[in-house]
């Protein structure tokens, strides 16, 4: 027992609410200004050459640092969703993310060289461009555009919430986190009950709701539980949604954060396009590196070492925190990472990174094979210092914040604020660390803005609506497209999206199932036909979407499929795990079979085109 006390005391669980100081906000403001300045520099740099190639591909001039640290790396999920999973499920998440150990060589070594070469020979600027020219098929280009717009939009919308949360948490003053927590209490005020009365709610229901009047509930789960105790099942069915909406708080700081985040990222991306996204991404990646290392040192120092942190965390949770398949906070025996999902995720992260449209387009933009080679060095070392340290930080976080519950995706910002307490210029250091997640999120959003905007302007408008559009017109449309996409993302986040990491997994699975096999066929297989690649792309995408739809809408029973096992992340945005495997396994398998079979039974491609792309070309004199 004394050891128990010793461990708990040594770890020093935080009971007070951490908060940002003025220095935190200043550090973030400097970071935002620096990003804007980089956007202006990028605007000047891309001014030579055509607008489209400069704005969407940076004139194919990416060097090793820019390619390595921007093509396959972090998103808001890295600093919000992933840490939340470590906090919730424990050490097993190291295996969940373990395939990142080979992402630097798979990301550049499987497709990199051929993609860069073929995109040059074909004059392709975007991924749909690449498929359209490689196979001479506008239909293939259009299908690729639609899929990219769909997946990238979902992924991007999820990032906005993360950006707004970081801004919110860094607000200065002792009221900051207090505001974010207390203002986000669920309260059913008297005026809302009066509104229900006027709407004709049953007087008995009104009387029951009066018992909840002005009470504070920490989150929606607590409020719904209490509501369930007070109201009958019929009353709940009729009014629950409306009552919960009425009690949901307005989080002003969240909206301020959302506004600042959107203005910043849309602004600098509009100014400098692809190069702005890449250069700010590089700058932010470097900030992330230092932020994570600093936080690692501070976290270990604060909790008294990693082993002690693990011991304390297991005491607070259970054996699942230190063993597979992972801790289950609900206590119902859910297995976060059974063997089938461990295999699935070793496939997922590797091949989704490889086939991400935002990553592929950066490889197309690299300046030489030396750049690809050097990028492998840089990213290998970089990943080593990001992912394992993040796991360590979050295990330490579990001991400092034992009861984050529904707020587990705030673990990194909270760690930044708490571990810097007592240091000279503490709030400034906290700001520098918070710049890491903020940077990751901005970088992701800016690169997706470029991809989505290029999809709308280059792949749809210019290709199908107005092939002779002037450069000024394309420029105007590109900028307008970015503003509209930003506004849509803000609108989608007025009611903040849930399940950040689940959305990241969904989009990653979808892009891999859609693009991996077609890209491999395009790069390495002479016999690949248009119909074969269309089939691979379409059926891969359909497989992933179908399995997700079955899971989300609970259709397994109706379709008489085997019962869904309680595995994976506990979220309603989860797929149907057929035989326990993630949809990526089925999507890639079906995509591969469809691509090969359909190619073999359809006419072969034009030999002249194939020779141009697969045979040695005579040197030009």
């Amino acid at each position: 027992m004394s050891s128990l006390l010793f461990a708990a005391a040594a770890a020093g669980a935080v009971t007070s609410k951490p908060h940002g100081g003025i220095g935190t906000l200043v550090a973030l403001a400097v970071f935002i200004l620096a990003s804007g300045w980089i956007g202006i520099l990028a605007n000047r740099a891309m001014s030579h050459g055509s607008f489209m190639k400069g704005f969407f591909l940076g004139n194919r001039g990416l060097g090793a640092w820019a390619l390595a640290l921007t093509a396959t790396v972090q998103s808001g999920g890295t600093f919000m969703g992933f840490p939340s999973l470590v906090y919730t499920h424990g050490w097993i998440v190291a295996l969940w993310i373990g395939s990142y150990m080979v992402v630097p060589i798979t990301g550049f070594g499987i497709l990199g060289k051929r993609l860069a070469q073929l995109s040059r020979r074909l004059g392709a600027i975007t991924i749909p461009d690449f498929f359209r020219e490689r196979f001479g098929s506008p239909a293939l280009g259009l299908l690729a555009s639609i899929c990219i717009l769909f997946y990238m939009s979902i992924m991007m919308v999820a990032q906005f919430k993360a950006g707004a949360i970081v801004m919110k948490l860094s607000w200065p003053g002792t009221e900051s986190l207090a505001m974010s927590e207390e203002f986000s209490n669920f309260v059913l005020p008297g005026k809302q009950i009066e509104r229900f009365r006027q709407k004709g709610f049953d007087p008995k229901t009104i009387d029951k709701l009066e018992t909840l009047k002005d009470q504070k509930f920490q989150d929606v789960a607590e409020f719904e539980t209490k509501l369930g105790e007070v109201l009958s099942i019929d009353e709940l069915k009729a009014h629950k949604s409306e009552i919960v909406t009425a009690a949901t708080p307005i989080d002003i700081l969240y909206f301020v954060g959302l506004g600042i985040f959107t203005l910043t990222v849309v602004g600098y991306t509009m100014a400098g396009g692809f190069l702005a996204a890449v250069w700010t991404d590089l700058f932010q990646s470097i900030m992330m590196f230092f932020g994570v290392i600093l936080l690692l040192v501070l976290a270990l120092w604060r909790v008294g070492g990693l082993e002690l942190a693990s011991v304390t965390a297991v005491q607070q949770t259970g054996p699942g925190f230190i063993y597979g398949p992972g801790y289950d906070p609900s206590g119902v025996g859910r297995q976060f990472l059974p063997l089938s999902l461990a295999i699935s995720f070793f496939v997922l992260w590797v091949y989704s990174g490889l086939s991400s449209p935002a990553g592929m387009v950066r490889i197309m933009a690299c300046d030489s094979t030396q750049t690809i080679r050097r990028s492998i060095y840089l990213l290998s070392i970089y990943n080593c210092f990001i992912y394992i340290p993040l796991i360590v930080i979050c295990v330490c976080g579990r001991t400092l914040f034992p009861n984050l519950g529904a707020h587990s995706d705030e673990i990194i910002p909270r760690m930044a604020l708490v571990t810097t307490e007592g240091l000279p210029l503490s709030s400034f250091w906290a700001g520098l660390i918070l710049a890491a997640p903020f940077g990751a999120i901005m970088a992701t959003v800016s690169s997706y803005l470029v991809v989505i905007s290029s999809g709308l302007v280059r792949d749809i408008y210019q290709r199908f609506l107005d092939p002779n559009a002037s450069e000024a017109r394309l420029k105007f449309l590109s900028h307008t497209g970015m503003i509209v996409v930003g506004l849509v993302a803000v609108a989608a986040n007025i009611q903040p999206v849930k399940y950040l990491q689940a959305l990241v997994v969904f989009s990653s699975t979808g892009t891999a199932c859609t693009f991996l096999i077609p890209a491999l066929m395009a790069a390495y297989w002479r016999r690949a036909s248009v119909a074969g690649v269309l089939a691979a792309m379409f059926l891969g995408a359909c497989t992933a979407l179908t399995l997700y739809s079955i899971g989300i809408f609970n259709l397994a029973d109706r379709l008489r499929l085997p019962e869904q096992l309680p595995i994976g992340q506990d979220t309603s945005l989860r797929p149907y795990y057929l035989f326990g495997y993630d949809p990526i396994i089925w999507g890639l398998s079906i995509s591969l079979v469809a691509g090969v079979v359909v190619s073999l039974v359809t006419p072969p491609p034009d030999p002249k085109l194939i020779s141009k792309l697969f045979d040695a070309q005579p040197a030009k004199v």
Binding site: F6, L95, V102, G109, Q117, Y323, G324, P329, G333, S380
Partner: protein
């Protein structure tokens, strides 16, 4: 008629892709199987059972308390290596460092530098400059 040769970039890219694919397969086989055999609780009912966790006094005064967990095979001491649970160290952390070293080797000695060529716009600009 001269024999048509494959593009040299295609040849080297394919060779490198096969090496990378093999590396991924080996890493996955090792990590997943090692972790599954050494770090998994076979009985899901134990995952969240705090009663199965015991913290004992350290063997040496001032040391770190020992963590004993019953994960279905009786109470056993959890081993740590460099602060990591040992199965994570051998199954994820060490392979990660080895893969990093291999990636450096791969970049330095296996990837061949090639000429990627010019896109049509750049080629036209170059031609115009020569003219």
């Amino acid at each position: 008629m001269p024999k048509i040769q494959e593009d040299p970039v295609l040849i080297s890219a394919r060779r490198e892709a096969l090496v990378v694919f093999a590396c991924w397969a080996i890493a996955m086989t090792w990590s997943v199987s090692y972790c599954y055999l050494n770090g998994y609780i076979t009985d899901p009912s134990l995952i969240s059972n705090k009663q199965k966790v015991e913290v004992r006094q350290p063997a040496q005064p001032g040391g770190i308390p020992e963590l004993w967990v019953d994960h279905g095979k009786g109470s056993q001491r959890v081993e740590f290596v460099l602060g990591f649970p040992s199965w994570i160290f051998w199954g994820v952390a060490l392979p990660w460092w080895i893969c990093t070293a291999f990636s450096l080797f791969f970049g330095a000695f296996i990837v061949r530098d090639e000429d990627l060529g010019l896109d049509p716009e750049a080629a036209a600009a170059l031609e115009a400059a020569h003219v």
